[in-house]
């Protein structure tokens, strides 16, 4: 059964984003006193660890984020994953690997990625 936040505030002092980003972190939202900032999270999960009710802050955060406008850096990385399969540029990757003495690596091709992310015409979904 889904656990509900009792707004006890125990998670607040644990939250890096709340302390350094001005109190608009995800824990503030879950505690019910902010309408913005579902993206302000360091992903340290101390809030989940601290919560006496066992609220899945991660799930709540993800749900709220899908309703909100995303910061540019998040959107860029998401679009990159959709396009190439990776969140960061991989264009000159194998040249770099060679320089470090690492073997070349085969990356996922666009066709496979398209099938995987379900935007093909197979009627899946």
């Amino acid at each position: 059964m889904k656990k509900v936040c009792e707004t006890c505030g125990i998670c607040r002092p644990c939250c890096l984003a709340s302390r350094v980003a001005g109190g608009t972190s995800i824990v503030s939202i879950i505690c019910g006193d902010s309408e913005t900032g579902a993206w302000n999270c360091a992903n340290c999960w101390k809030c989940i660890e601290a919560c006496p009710e066992g609220v899945d802050v991660y799930e709540e955060m993800i749900r709220k984020r899908r309703e909100e406008e995303a910061p540019e850096e998040y959107r860029k990385k998401y679009e990159s994953i959709c396009k190439t399969g990776y969140g960061l540029p991989v264009d000159e990757l194998n040249d770099l690997r060679e320089m470090w003495g690492l073997k070349k690596i085969k990356l996922i091709d666009r066709e496979k990625l398209r099938k995987l992310l379900g935007d093909d015409d197979s009627g899946d979904e």
Binding site: N40, Y58, Y74, V90, W100
Partner: protein
Amino acid sequence: MERRLLFSGCLILTHFQAYELAAKSVLPHVGIELADMEEFTCCGSTIFPSFSEEWIYLTAYNLALAESQGFDIVTLCGSCTRTLKLASRTLADDDDLRVKVNKRLSELGLRFEGQVKISHIIEVLAERMPAIAAEVRNPLDLNVALSHPCNVVRPSELMQFDDPWQPQKMREIVKLTGATVVDYPLEYECCGSTLSLSQELQALEAAKAKLRSALEAGAERLIVSCGNCYLSLAGNQQKIRQTDPEIDLPLLFLPQLLGLAFGIPEKELGLEL
């Protein structure tokens, strides 16, 4: 020698080849050979799930890919570790979702059965302490501070490894090298790396505070075992020094430190290019 697949993730793949190289050089000394995981993709991290439910296909694909080759996975970043473990558990617990995911994976000739074990490099090393001790040829005379990857230990109900508030396994491993581990007030604080995606200046402040705390405790090197920690705590130093020139603390990835103690040449540890 046990063979495992290296899931390096986007950050190590594109930025921190030195970490991959050091891991591949060091792990054979404790009985693990790391093979490349061809055609792996981003794990999705918290980025993909923040936009789409489709994240599970991306993560399941990587697990099924490893499963098709019959080897367990070793990770080098915290976030990849948590995401892969979350997907593995989600799919094991949800029969309907597993059927749906496997339907799509079958188009790629893959299937998720939940047979692959996912271990971060700290977990791998922590299971091999006697082997590490036996490999130390050059005990290190160095004061080091540690930065622990949050996502390897939290949330503890998922990760089931080490103390979720004050992780100790990395300390136990590092102590075997002869290095002195210095305690510092912000040791168990997050590096703030992911915060930079939404709050760049605040993330910089978090990194600065952590670095200052370690320096004031007398650290000569900061040891990390996550690409995000390195990105935040090494990548931000140049920027921080523009206003705070005293913030100068070189970082080492955990296998680089072990490699130095094992007497592995610096070039094989990514310490000289």
